[in-house]
């Protein structure tokens, strides 16, 4: 049983702290080159390996990541 | 319940009045000369009758912050202490005023400065009405002169506190706190029901029902523009108190050539000195302050127009005299008489002071 995950990042509220990046088990997160309205680089998925485990959301101090999962 | 005649100390009267006026919580700390307030409350066990919470804290700093926490949920919460303890409470008092939290604080004054003495004094006037803590704020301040007033003013304090969402200070002294006098009780007021609490204090933090936003009790406002607006609001509140809630008493002032201005124990002594003066043919009156804030400026100015001299009687180095002079704009010969260190002046001394300092 495998899962396909998707995350939605509230990029305007992300402060680019990067705490989520190293905790992703499948290494699909990186900080963007672009910046949001406050000048922060924001987190984003850089591949489609997300399994919806929500590790990133759990450590996000500002709760900007919502996580969705589907069984495939 | 008809009014009962009782005999008790001023401190005990404060405790009985707290229970009878529907107080929800009392948080205190021992300090002479007012420890009987908490001792009486503990002996009465109101938690078994009215449900009132009574707790001894680890310091006055803690007890005033317990008052803050309890009162900010919209409950009727009080404390009592004496001068050094009230000094420790100053931070709490300015937070209470800044967060607009209604509550009742009793100061049974003793001699200062520092550890000072445990005998009575009135040298906390400035601390009480000129703001002992930081920032522009005022405590509505009542000065009882008898055990009956110690009792009655607790009831009155609750009305003012919740009407203006402001702390109320009952400023007494060791003499009134410790002496026993007759008093007539008042009908008990039940503690508020939950509905009454929510109606009387909708701003309280008692848990956010779904139909309103969350209540926040704070005195913090980092936005200067908003903090200035808030300060104007406070000043308007104090102005309204000054307009509507001044209390004082005048005795024999109509034909007086001279008047004593005094409050609390000093006013009782001045009363006797006035009678002695009258017996010697000196027409003296007494202007007794009941509210120290708001100060009866207009009313005193009115009386002062008709007299040749004013003797302020206060167990201090002369603090209230400044407000008297402000009221009369120094147009009347005004002098101070007081004893220090907890020594209570005698009527004879007061009369001599009038004769030497004012009349001669």
């Amino acid at each position: 049983m495998a899962f396909k995950g998707q995350i939605i990042v509230d990029t305007e509220r992300c402060k680019g702290c990067g705490v989520c990046v190293p905790v992703c088990p499948v290494k699909c997160l990186e900080l963007s080159k672009e910046v949001n309205g406050k000048g922060y680089n924001y987190t984003q998925t850089v591949n489609d390996k997300c399994i919806g485990c929500a590790s990133c959301a759990m450590v996000c101090p500002d709760g900007v990541i919502s996580v969705y999962k589907k069984q495939i | 319940m008809a009014r009962e005649l009782k005999l008790m100390k001023g401190n005990e009267a404060i405790a009985q009045a707290m229970i009878a006026s529907g107080t929800d919580g009392y948080f205190g700390y021992p300090i002479t000369p007012q420890s009987e307030v908490m001792e009486t409350l503990m002996a009465e066990k109101p938690w078994e009758t009215t449900g009132m919470v009574v707790l001894q804290a680890e310091s006055e700093v803690s007890s005033i912050n317990m008052v803050y926490g309890g009162a900010a949920t919209g409950k009727k919460v009080a404390t009592s202490s004496s001068s050094p303890g009230i000094s420790l409470m100053q931070e709490g008092l300015t937070y209470l005023a800044g967060a607009e939290i209604p509550c009742v604080i009793v100061n049974v004054m003793r001699g200062g400065p520092g550890l000072g003495t445990i005998q009575p004094s009135q040298s906390d006037y400035f601390q009480s009405v000129k703001g002992g803590g930081h920032g522009d704020y005022q405590l509505y301040t009542l000065a009882p002169a008898s055990v009956q007033e110690m009792y009655d003013f607790v009831f009155d304090a609750w009305d003012i506190a919740f009407k203006y969402r402001n702390p109320v200070l009952i400023l007494s002294d060791g003499a009134i706190g410790q002496c026993m006098e007759k008093l007539y009780t008042r009908d008990n007021i039940a503690r508020w029901t939950e509905e009454e609490r929510r109606k009387n204090a909708p701003w309280g933090t008692f848990g956010k029902p779904a139909d309103r936003g969350h209540n926040i009790i704070t005195s913090l406002e980092l936005e200067s523009a908003r903090q200035e607006v808030f300060n104007h609001k406070l000043q308007a509140k104090y102005a309204e108190m000054k307009e509507k809630e001044v209390r004082f008493e005048t005795i024999n002032c109509e034909d007086a050539d001279y008047i004593f201005v005094a409050y609390g124990s000093s006013s009782r002594i001045a009363m006797k000195a006035m009678q002695m003066a009258r017996e010697k043919g000196i027409k003296v009156g007494l202007f007794r302050l009941i509210t120290l804030f708001p100060f009866p400026t207009k009313q005193l100015a009115e009386v002062a127009k008709r007299v040749k001299g004013i003797l302020c009687v206060e167990m201090s180095a002369g603090q209230m005299i400044e407000d008297v002079k402000l009221a009369t704009e120094c147009n009347v010969k005004t002098e101070h008489f007081g004893r220090f260190g907890g020594i209570i002046p005698t009527p004879t001394e007061v009369l001599e002071a009038l004769e030497n300092k004012i009349i001669k």
Partner: protein, 283 residues
């Protein structure tokens, strides 16, 4: 991904058969938190709000915030809140709870607020066994005022007031308030957790949940310390600060339950309770 189409994107995913695994709890307001990027305060706020949400007690909870970085906590929790003077939250909460026993009351404090100026209030609320939940965020520094030494600053640790490292001869040893409170009969549950990785977050949330459940059962004081980074104060990136915390704070402030159901947890070495020293930065 622009902000506006978050809701639209969500609906798309739900239509595609995805289920929502995680999203910010409604017990947190929409206010953007002022905490520095990557600060443990934000994570801790989230966990408390999630516990309140899951226990369905938003309408009965009253929070008390301190003076310090989390002074504005009341803007972030959609529950009734009081702002306490510096160090006084335990006294404030004592009265809130005693006068409103049906409310769930929690205090939220930093190390300066709880273990320096608020020491008396902390110890006496614990000693009276007040039936409240105390959250203590320990980042070894005064954050809000710009990184000064706190009671929990480690020996040798730099701060704005110990620029050459904390010295025992000048500033004494760091204070392990949590262990100290565990020795008081009034405390029922005493634990130290952290929030720097998913595993730690799960344990921290479980601890916070247990603390609130203890309060529901009227068990007395539950005390949850959360070790946290302080990126600005320590002058490190968030990820580096979390690493530094694991390497330096955790050996000195061991994570785990210290007291459970009113008894010292097994495996807790009593010597640690009597505060053996030295609590130093691992060079």
């Amino acid at each position: 991904m622009a902000n506006i189409d978050i809701e639209a994107r969500k609906q798309e995913l739900l239509k595609e058969g995805y289920t929502e695994v995680y999203t910010k709890t409604k017990v947190l307001t929409d206010a953007v938190m002022h905490y520095c990027p990557g600060c443990g305060h934000g994570t801790t706020h989230r966990l408390i709000a999630e516990v309140i949400d899951e226990m369905g007690i938003q309408d009965k909870t009253v929070g008390v915030s301190p003076v310090g970085c989390s002074v504005l906590a009341y803007n972030y929790f959609d529950v009734d809140f009081q702002e306490a003077a510096h160090g006084r939250a335990p006294a404030v909460a004592t009265a809130v709870k005693r006068l409103n026993p049906e409310c769930y009351v929690f205090t939220y404090q930093g190390d300066g607020d709880l273990a320096a100026i608020g020491t008396a209030e902390t110890i006496h609320a614990a000693n009276r066994g007040e039936n409240i939940t105390m959250i203590f965020v320990n980042n070894g520094i005064y954050g809000m005022t710009g990184g000064q030494m706190a009671p929990t600053t480690l020996v040798g640790m730099r701060s704005a007031t110990t620029p050459y490292g904390r010295r025992v001869d000048l500033n004494g040893y760091p204070l392990r308030m949590t262990e100290l409170l565990a020795t008081l009969p009034g405390t029922y549950y005493v634990t130290r957790q952290s929030v720097q990785n998913p595993g730690a977050v799960r344990k921290a949330k479980a601890a916070i949940r247990k603390a609130f459940e203890n309060q529901k059962l009227g068990k007395g004081l539950s005390f949850v310390e959360i070790l946290s980074n302080c990126n600005s104060g320590w002058k490190m990136t968030p990820v580096a600060a979390n690493k530094w915390m694991e390497d330096n704070m955790m050996p000195n402030y061991p994570v785990g339950d210290i007291k459970v159901d009113g008894k010292i947890a097994e495996g807790i070495d009593v010597n640690r309770l009597v505060l053996d020293h030295p609590l130093t930065v691992m060079q």
